[in-house]
């Protein structure tokens, strides 16, 4: 398993959480959610890696029975996670547009009508 991947993924997750916690512009919060998605996808793909394995595809005639290949299940999980991340970003950005129309500002400290 590759150490660089895991360290990079943890750094991405930490950066994403930091952006979501401290930045006040709501579009930056959406960007923070995207960075968390990148870190998460990197972790999932790196879990399935086997050293020296080849791609798990039959029709390219690389794979003969008994050969060593990487795990295809985390690749499917990552695909699903990317799709979900795209949908979350789309919905969040649409809500940002609608919030700007209603409140006139993109600052999350001023979008505070529901409190207490």
């Amino acid at each position: 398993m590759m150490l660089v991947n895991y360290i990079g993924a943890v750094l991405l997750l930490a950066t994403g959480f930091y952006v979501m916690m401290t930045k006040e512009n709501i579009i930056k919060i959406v960007i923070g959610m995207g960075i968390i998605d990148y870190g998460l996808n990197l972790i999932i793909v790196s879990i399935g890696f086997n050293e020296g394995g080849t791609a798990p595809i039959f029709t390219m005639s690389e794979l003969k029975p008994g050969m060593y290949f990487v795990d295809p299940v985390p690749q499917a999980l990552t695909l699903t996670s990317i799709v979900i991340g795209a949908c979350v970003t789309a919905m969040a950005l649409t809500l940002c547009i609608k919030l700007y129309e209603e409140y006139g500002t993109l600052n999350s400290s001023h979008i505070r009508r529901l409190r207490g």
């Binding site: 999980l77 699903t80 809500l95």
Partner: protein
């Protein structure tokens, strides 16, 4: 044929959602499609009661017939045992009743076809979570459910706060989904399988390595976000208030139960960590904090639905406390309270929706005296208020009694003073709930009718019928607890404590014995009630007292004016008797002395719920860090 029923009851809801898009314009076709979908789903769940609950069979179903190969699960599985069927029944009942309510209710909004599409997607997603036997399938359905709920929260264009509530819900909700996915990936890295039964067979508590402790903390917190555990509850208050009422029923009654179901599956089945006393203490602590914080916040509210939302989370705190006690009566009390909470909280939210439909506002200061114009709605509200406060003969009494008894027995068994304190907190929360609902009842339904609400009409019949059905179910589950326990609760309790049966049903006989190197005994699956009480006697007593109070009120009514008595009461009780021109106590301000005495605590709490998204995310991440540290120290 029986084994196809679970997957059919999920797919019928999704098929209905997409058919509504195609035929959405015409009202008759839309009503027909939605009714057919929710009725079919409910009927399929009811048809499964006899094989699964009464005969004790566990349905295990592999999609695509991919059966396990040499002991490894390679397909996606669906497994329905009594616990899953219990939650499935709860979900499909709430979806059906709320669906029938929304046919008339949604005529006040535009684009009803989009509403029903999202509604059926939400229902299908929740059914997918409770019936699935595969960890990643649970995650995908969790995301489908979150999207549909966020879109429905932002649905009303004439509510100016709806978009803000939806944005906060999306940010914090996707935080929870991130935690669940990270936990799933780590579990996959250890076990190389995603099937719940096989993971449960491969993981063991005594030989746990730090990665799995981390994964447990992440999964627990992730499902806790969906169940609106304590630091994550402000978004629930915003979302319930902004969403249409039939969707608030689903968010409070069904959505939170999937979080509870996820916590049960992770703690009782996957990691089997509930046998350790430190984990029990942790979950009981979280439940108690949820209960107490939310019921004190509810005293401060001025909006009807926001107040109901805070009470909803406080009742979820009851359920989490009772599940954390890990004894048979604790689990039984928790599950019974889950179904009671869906019924009475659903009834209360539907009443709030009826008030909103008739008057156009939910602010407590602007409402008042509606019982004269909407008598049936007022009666239904009183049924719901009595149920949530735990007054016999309604259903809240039974489940709260079981929770008090469970906490008390745990205190007697372990001898620690902490669990006795839990009983005290539970009873105090119950009293504060009753106080809060007296205030709401006075300010919305009794008291003086404002001038602008003179011509409100009673709710339409098609909205009243689901409410009456829910009220009847509240009464029935309170008066017949023995029947409920024998057929529905006890099989679910046995299924919760029997993880070996769960594993063997999916992976073949003998798998559990071969692979589970050590077992942590959870609890015995037997319990008895303390004390002797008969609900029929309480019903008779209740009717007599109600008749007496009605007679007394009708006799003494002639000499009472609307504005004279209240000001004098305030002077007599709290002041020395000096008259003050501006001290009128409105109906919504009934406990002003109590609030004044605790103003420092209520101010701190009010400022903590600041309304800024970054604060909510910070609370969430701090809570995750605390839970991770706790798990590492104690596991």
């Amino acid at each position: 044929m029986i084994q196809h029923f679970p997957i059919l009851s999920i797919m019928v809801l999704f098929l209905g959602a997409f058919l509504v898009v195609l035929v959405g314009r015409s009202r008759i076709a839309r009503t027909a499609v939605v009714s057919a979908a929710v009725l079919t789903s409910f009927a399929l769940m009811v048809a499964l009661i006899k094989p699964v609950m009464i005969d004790g069979q566990i349905i295990s179903y592999w999609m695509g017939n991919w059966a396990p190969v040499s002991g490894y699960a390679i397909g996606i599985g669906i497994e329905v045992d009594a616990l899953s069927l219990f939650f499935g029944l709860l979900v499909s009942l709430a979806v059906m009743l709320s669906g029938f309510y929304s046919f008339k209710y949604i005529t006040q909004d535009d684009s009803p076809d989009l509403f029903f599409t999202l509604y059926l997607m939400l229902a299908g997603g929740v059914m997918g979570i409770v019936l699935s036997g595969d960890l990643f399938n649970i995650f995908v359905m969790l995301e489908v459910m979150t999207f549909a709920a966020v879109a429905l929260t932002a649905f009303r264009s004439w509510n100016p706060n709806a978009r803000e509530a939806a944005f906060k819900y999306l940010v914090v909700g996707s935080l929870g989904s991130t935690f669940v996915l990270l936990g799933t990936a780590l579990v996959y890295g250890q076990c190389h399988t995603l099937n719940l039964a096989q993971i449960s067979g491969l993981l063991s508590v005594n030989g746990i390595n730090p990665t799995m402790t981390f994964a447990f903390a992440l999964l627990f917190t992730g499902f806790g976000v969906k169940a609106f555990m304590t630091p994550f509850h402000p978004i629930a208050a915003d979302a319930h208030a902004a969403a249409p009422s039939s969707v608030s029923v689903l968010i409070s009654g069904v959505f939170t139960k999937t979080g509870v179901y996820g916590i049960i599956r992770v703690s009782y089945f996957l990691f089997k960590s509930m046998g350790m006393s430190s984990m029990q203490t942790g979950l009981v602590f979280i439940g108690c904090v949820s209960m107490f914080v939310c019921v004190t916040m509810a005293l401060n509210q001025h909006d009807f639905k926001r107040l109901l939302a805070f009470h909803s989370i406080s009742q979820i705190g009851y359920i989490l406390t009772s599940l954390g006690l890990c004894s048979a009566i604790g689990i039984a009390g928790g599950l019974y309270h889950a179904i009671n909470h869906t019924l009475f909280k659903g009834l209360l939210f539907l009443t709030a929706g009826a008030v909103l439909y008739a008057t156009g506002t939910t602010k407590l200061e602007k409402l008042g005296g509606l019982a004269r114009r909407m008598p049936q709605t007022a009666a239904l509200f009183m049924v719901g208020a009595f149920s949530i406060s735990g007054i016999p003969p309604f259903n809240g009494f039974v489940s709260k009694w079981m929770i008090y008894q469970a906490a008390y027995e745990k205190a007697a068994e372990t001898g620690s003073i902490g669990y006795a304190f839990v009983t005290v907190i539970a009873v105090v929360t119950s009293v504060l709930t009753l106080a809060s609902f007296v205030k709401v009842g006075q300010s919305v339904f009794f008291g003086e009718l404002p001038v602008e609400l003179e011509n409100v009409k009673e709710t339409p019949l098609s909205m009243r019928i689901p409410m009456w059905i829910m009220a009847a179910l509240c009464l029935l589950t309170g008066v017949l607890p023995g029947l409920m326990q024998q057929y529905i609760i006890n099989p679910a309790v046995r299924a919760t404590l029997d993880y070996k049966g769960y594993i063997d049903a999916m992976m073949g006989e003998g798998y559990a014995a071969a692979h589970l190197a050590d077992t942590v005994p959870l609890a015995e699956a037997k319990y008895t009630f303390a004390g002797a009480w008969n609900p029929a006697f309480w019903l008779v007593l209740f009717v007599i007292v109600l008749l007496g109070v009605t007679v007394a009120m009708m006799i003494g009514k002639s000499g009472r004016g609307a504005a004279t008595a209240i000001a004098d009461d305030k002077h007599d009780t709290f002041f020395g008797g000096e008259k003050n021109t501006f001290s009128q106590v409105g109906g919504g301000d009934l406990f002003w002395g109590f609030k004044y005495n605790f103003r420092r605590y209520l101010n701190v709490m009010g400022n903590a719920h600041s309304g800024v998204v970054n604060d909510y995310v910070t609370w969430g991440v701090i809570d995750l860090a605390l839970i991770i540290v706790y798990c590492f120290i104690f596991m």
